[in-house]
Symmetry: C2
Subunit: 501 residues, 2 copies
């Protein structure tokens, strides 16, 4: 009885903290999609106050004591049970967040909220100097945050916020194994005749683009009673509650790929959050397991499905009907090759699957250098461009398409980028498991059937929320930890055919 | 020094509470304009948690002690100074809110947040029984709230939340003086030939309606960098910070008046909030003085300006240009009479100025009866319709146009409605002062010039925020407390001319 009482107390306290975090997410969604520019300063204060409260409440002695008292109960419970996992994960986060002063949390929330609008303006004007003082302060605060914790490498505590259990050396190791293979593949492709994708850059009516994307993600299973789609400078997905999971996209009138693949990407994230078991809502476990696990879902829908031939066998005739002038004379095969064209480019989110991870590796190195202090924020644009030249052989014409392209740093998301590349790897691992467990998956996709796929992902991954550590979850689902081999197999097989390597 | 330190401490604590209240307002705005239906339950928890926190923090012993310690300082300060007013107003609210348990505040916030969606559905379906259990619970909670306080009448503590200093007997007295005169006026009008307003109910393109309204409120001075306009089931204005004051409206394709007068009404509210001195933001004083003061501003822009001949001398040719088929053959004089047609009707927000206050009196009586317990929620639709027959001689065809028409009760706003009628009275008082202090006001309005008017209101009323009690503020601006005489003079003069009484 006493244990039950304590568990109920713990959950009530966690509910309150999750409500505060949901409120922060509403404020942030509003800021990125609705808020008038005048609101930025006030919004900074509001988010800062809520973040401070959520932090203070979480690291309170009462929660510490409850977690302590419940540890024996967790130890003797079934390890996979919701309660055991909740106590374990909440204890891990408690241990970590207790080391951080609430003042630092509040100041970080304020500056990153205010800096969003500054980044947006700086990006629109391709004017890094406008963003520089904010980024300098953010880097400073992230270093202070890292220094609250014991670490082998100063980047570890940041990375761990996104990928519990993963170290900087682990990521470096994975990336170092991957990079030469990706570079080799890109070089082999570069030696072959290029495929044409000019038809993707014709004039595409924005409303029709959105309608088509909406139709596709509806068939993927996005539940409109529990979500909505808006436009924002940078696409994102946000969970504002178990039954309010929103996505955003951006639409360009002269680029079909951007809105479509962006929307399917965010849909992958949203299906994850919509599939979390409702009983975990308003607790520490009520969200996806990690950012890499999340990216595995978004990249799976965006690429493994959205850029597959099977998918377009079903949808391409529909797309041609909507855009006859643009695509009427483009054969399915041409279209398929076009959306998979490999071409070193400036913008990560528009990058093809072969070059994508190089964009990530560049960011990882820059983030590590900023955290180590070996790179100054003032020197960032130059360092960015130098690495672009080095890794991809191209230099962005301005900072809008260079160092300012991503929203992440304005939000202080240092440690996030690696998870995109890791997500690519995990997506391919999951894809292999999926194909072996749903033997007619390809046939289903060719028929526009996505429910068995979604259900499989829901049962194997989504429903568990944050119960399991990401590496553990990957192993449960695929039989091995994060492994680059399936990804390389996937890329090689795909591009061998497209580029006749 | 010690006093300065305590004052700074108090302000820091109040800042935090105001941030929480702003966050609640963002969540509520989102719910009414953006949220998918699935979000209702989670939103109820979120708002409940924030409301509990804001309440607990405000009634904390620390704030109580600070207010106590600062009382002597307030007493010896200039009584109109920001600090003296802050200490006085915060003490008054502290004294009141300390009597209320946080559990009651949280439960009230949860149920009123959840009930919004239920009301919206019930209203759309004209199905009162769907809303009834929620309203029953809300009435129960409002009675509990009232019972936390000492009172002469159970309705007093509710009314006082909207109109500090005003008692139920005061309002009854004002209304009793007013009612026979309004009824007499309506009867006199009823004996005259009716004016035509059928042209207002032609087909009006929704986008063009909105564009015209946007153009007008831009000229009134609504600052789009600090606000935005959205659609909602019931129009409202919300302050999400000093520089984020949003309005909503609703647009009907077959009713020009609804969106236009609704939007100008909300613009009046917004100009008030946008005009509050920025130094008062994030304190107890950072909002309008009271709901009646607020309504005086919204009704002033909606009616005293928006339904005046002077206003349309400037804008009517522009409106005719936009809607030539609907209004090309309608003379200015006809149009002016049409938008001022007196006709007992079902819906308060669409009511003319002569009958409007009767809608309010009906609500006041029903609210008082519900609070006294002499009326059951189950009997409300019948009581509503009986009074409609009695006061206005019409019975709504369904509850959508009857008891379900207003959002207020779903939000638990018992005590709010009277402020609309009081606002009408104050607006006329202010109007008389305005005309004597800006002698060429009519000429300015005929020329589409609104800046002197806005500046006068800002300096006399808006900038003070909540510093002064509403009756005191009315007296400062107009030389007397709330007084029905100017309103009756205004109505009689206006309708004498229109209906040739």
């Amino acid at each position: 009885m006493e244990i039950e009482g304590k568990l109920a107390q713990l959950k009530t306290k966690l509910n309150e903290i999750e409500d505060l975090k949901y409120a922060i997410s509403v404020l942030s969604w509003d800021q990125q999609t609705q808020m008038p520019p005048g609101g930025a300063n006030g919004r900074g204060h509001q988010v800062s106050t809520l973040a401070r409260l959520a932090h203070t409440k979480f690291v309170s002695p009462e929660i510490g004591q409850l977690l302590q008292d419940l540890k024996p109960y967790a130890a003797e419970s079934e390890p996979d049970s919701d309660d055991a996992c909740l106590i374990k994960v909440a204890s891990r986060e408690y241990e970590k967040l207790s080391r951080v002063p609430s003042d630092l949390v509040a100041e970080f929330a304020r500056i990153t909220t205010e800096s969003y609008g500054v980044w947006e303006e700086a990006r629109n004007e391709a004017n890094f100097s406008k963003f520089q003082p904010y980024l300098t302060r953010i880097v400073e605060l992230r270093r202070q945050y890292a220094d609250c914790h014991p670490y082998d490498h100063i980047y570890d505590p940041l990375l761990e916020d996104y990928e519990p259990g993963l170290k900087t050396t682990d990521v470096k190791e994975i990336f170092e194994a991957l990079r030469p293979k990706q570079v080799e593949l890109i070089q082999a492709i570069g030696a072959r005749p290029q495929v044409d994708d000019s038809f993707l850059y014709k004039s595409y009516d924005e409303t029709k683009q959105l309608e088509f994307s909406v139709n596709v993600i509806t068939q993927f299973g996005y539940d409109w009673k529990r979500g909505r789609l808006d436009k924002s400078a940078h696409p994102f997905t946000t969970r504002l509650g178990q039954s309010d999971v929103r996505i955003t996209t951006r639409v360009y009138p002269d680029n079909f790929a951007s809105a479509f693949f962006g929307t399917t990407h965010e849909c992958g994230h949203a299906l994850y959050e919509m599939g979390v078991d409702p009983s975990l809502d308003r607790t520490t476990l009520g969200e996806g397991a990690s950012y890499a696990m999340h990216e595995s879902q978004s990249r799976l829908y965006e690429n493994l499905i959205g850029r597959s031939r099977d998918f377009w066998i079903h949808f391409y005739p529909r797309l041609q009907e909507i855009f006859p002038a643009q695509l009427g004379n483009v054969e399915l095969d041409q279209f398929y090759k076009g959306i998979n064209r490999v071409q070193p480019s400036f913008v990560r989110v528009e990058a093809d699957e072969a070059t994508y991870n190089l964009h990530i590796m560049l960011r990882l190195e820059l983030e590590i250098a900023l955290m180590e202090g070996s790179l100054e924020v003032a020197d960032l644009p130059e360092a960015w461009n130098a690495r672009m030249q080095d890794y991809l052989g191209v230099i962005p014409p301005d900072d809008r398409q260079g160092v300012l392209q991503d929203v992440h740093w304005s939000s202080g998301y240092f440690g996030y980028f690696s998870t995109y590349a890791l997500g690519n790897l995990i997506a391919s691992q999951i894809w292999e498991s999926l194909k072996s467990e749903i033997p007619d998956l390809a046939t289903q996709i060719r028929g526009g059937q996505f429910s068995a796929l979604r259900e499989w992902l829901r049962q194997k991954i989504h429903c568990h929320g944050k119960k399991f550590e990401p590496q553990d979850l990957v192993e449960r689902v695929t039989g091995s930890k994060i492994d680059p081999a399936p990804y390389m197999r996937y890329l090689q097989e795909k591009y061998r055919e497209i580029y006749k390597l």
